[in-house]
């Protein structure tokens, strides 16, 4: 039984790494179709990763050991954070290791090394990107934790797997607090994964870029790991939104049919989320960098209102 569940964990972790580029490719494809372009195949991100892995990794003369180590740390920390979020099944051993706060911490660790690596070479763009990333994350993290606390107060646990179990057990209930938490978490996810109103993922040279500015100096396998980590982070937030708020179909038992249904449904949910994201990105224009704090204040306000409406409307009676 124990071995079986660890096999499942391994499977889920590999699924995360394997499906993350597919999600990115899907979003790019949908976005291209919405803009009347044909777009690249949805498997294009795999080809790009393969290309980068086979290329030589060039390094600046001023780069330190930190610069060399950062891609591995960033990738592993993001991957570890993703492994604690139930993808196809709940009640796995990794869920017992990490709760929401640890996930936020792991993402924080990844971000810390990403920003350090951005500053390490000493180019102007790297430092600029790092400082912007820190601005965004310093405002996004409290909002994310506040939204998570709203869920934790309802489910009486900070463990994601138990939260999903609680959601499944309590059936379909309209909760004002969940609605606010969902809206707040969506804004946080957009800011954290560098999607359009905050950062443009499709650009390589623009004065207002954030994520691309930090990894501008990377090449070869290092760049591949950084890109893969970013794709994983997108998938992580997507799964978080899809499985915590709409947990239908997630496998509660570890047998083949329910796992298959779980995988199918989570892929459908992520695909729908990708369409929503692509549509939003096609409609909205990128904000000025100095408008981003207002955007994240809105996310924080939504999360806070979720907490308050839980206390006022849901507990009081």
């Amino acid at each position: 039984m124990i071995i079986e569940s660890w096999v499942l964990v391994l499977l889920q972790v590999l699924l995360y790494a394997a499906l993350a580029p597919l999600l990115t490719g899907w979003i790019r494809k949908v976005k291209a179709r919405l803009q009347n372009r044909r777009g690249a195949s949805i498997f294009q991100p795999y080809r790009e990763l393969y290309k980068l892995f086979t290329k030589e990794a060039r390094m600046a003369h001023t780069a330190s050991i930190l610069y060399r180590a950062a891609p591995y740390i960033v990738f592993v920390a993001t991957w570890l954070a993703a492994s604690a979020i139930p993808l196809v099944a709940t009640g796995l051993p990794t869920a017992a290791i990490a709760d929401v706060i640890v996930i936020a911490g792991l993402l924080g660790l990844a971000r810390f090394f990403l920003a350090l690596a951005g500053m390490d070479v000493g180019t102007a763009f790297g430092g600029m990107g790092a400082s912007r990333e820190m601005l965004v994350s310093a405002l996004a993290e409290p909002a994310m934790l506040m939204a998570m606390f709203t869920l934790a107060m309802t489910a009486h646990t900070t463990n994601l797997s138990s939260m999903v179990d609680y959601q499944m057990a309590s059936g379909n209930i309209l909760r004002p607090s969940y609605m606010f938490a969902l809206a707040g978490l969506m804004l946080v996810a957009i800011a954290e994964t560098g999607r359009i109103p905050v950062d443009n993922p499709a650009t390589h040279l623009e004065l207002t870029m954030i994520h691309e500015a930090m990894i501008l100096e990377y090449s070869g396998r290092h760049l591949a790991l950084m890109e893969w980590a970013a794709q994983l982070k997108l998938m992580l937030y997507g799964t978080l939104l899809a499985n915590i708020f709409f947990p239908w179909g997630i496998a509660l038992k570890a047998d083949m049919p329910s796992l298959g249904i779980g995988l199918l449904l989570v892929m459908i949910k992520l695909a729908v989320l990708g369409i929503v994201l692509a549509a939003g990105e096609s409609v909205l224009a990128k904000m000025r960098v100095f408008r981003v704090p207002a955007f994240l204040n809105l996310a924080f306000l939504l999360a806070l209102l979720g907490l308050l409406s839980h206390v006022i409307l849901e507990v009081g009676s």
Binding site: L174, P176, N297, L301, S309, V311, I312, L313, E314
Partner: protein, 228 residues
């Protein structure tokens, strides 16, 4: 959880009330005049929706009438009048941001907590779940008041006043199943008259100080400033 005992309609009521509170925050923060009028219209529509749901779940048929009245008056007629006024005054592209947005929003959140604390004894005495909404509606009233304090623009202050009325209406509907029809008609008429009077006043203020920023009314005239 207590929410499990409620029917779907009653859960819907709580959700709508919570969104109404959120529109209050949008009204407070919105810098564009036209957008804040739209937010006010949405708040009116939400108040009407809450009334409809209360009527449907509690069987108060007279509430349907007040829901229709609210929808016509606060979601359609008054926003339309305000819209026309703003266009006449050529303010539709004006942007007037809050001075300390984060501070004001945190103050508004504190007001929500305060109104919850005020209503707490009432909620503990009676086990009707709609009384939870009283805290929300009190918060809407207080945020409307805050809006009239922190905003300088006359039209936005009127929006704050009107949203206070929305909050009072929500409180009446959720606490006692609505006011008597005569009172409701009277209030609706009052609001309408107030709206017309405000319209006249806007033009008066505009003519005398050439702006709708009421902070300028604190000074006597422009000339004394120059002479100093």
């Amino acid at each position: 959880m207590s929410l499990d005992h409620l029917s779907l309609l009653e859960q819907l009521m709580l959700v709508l009330a919570a969104i109404a509170l959120f529109t209050s925050f949008i009204l407070l923060e919105q810098a564009r005049l036209v957008a804040s009028i739209h937010a006010f219209a949405w708040q009116g529509a939400l108040a009407a929706a809450v009334t409809t749901v209360v009527a449907a779940s509690g069987g108060h048929t007279h509430l349907y009438f007040s829901a229709v009245l609210t929808l016509c008056l606060k979601a359609l007629l008054i926003p339309w009048m305000l819209h026309r006024l703003v266009r006449k005054l050529e303010l539709d592209r004006q942007i007037e941001p809050l001075r300390h947005p984060a501070l004001v929003i945190m103050f508004a959140v504190a007001l929500v907590i305060f109104s919850y604390w005020l209503v707490l004894p009432m909620v503990q005495q009676e086990l009707v779940f709609t009384r939870n909404i009283v805290a929300v509606s009190l918060a809407i009233v207080l945020i409307g008041l805050l809006m009239m304090v922190v905003r300088q623009q006359a039209v936005v202050q009127v929006l704050g006043f009107m949203s206070m009325e929305n909050g009072l209406f929500l409180a009446a509907v959720s606490a006692t199943g609505g006011m008597p029809l005569v009172v409701e008609l009277g209030v609706a008429f009052d609001v309408l008259v107030a709206m017309v009077l405000f319209g006249v006043f806007f033009f008066q203020i505009r003519e005398s100080i050439d702006s709708l920023n009421v902070d300028r009314l604190n000074r006597l005239t422009e000339r004394t400033e120059e002479e100093r």
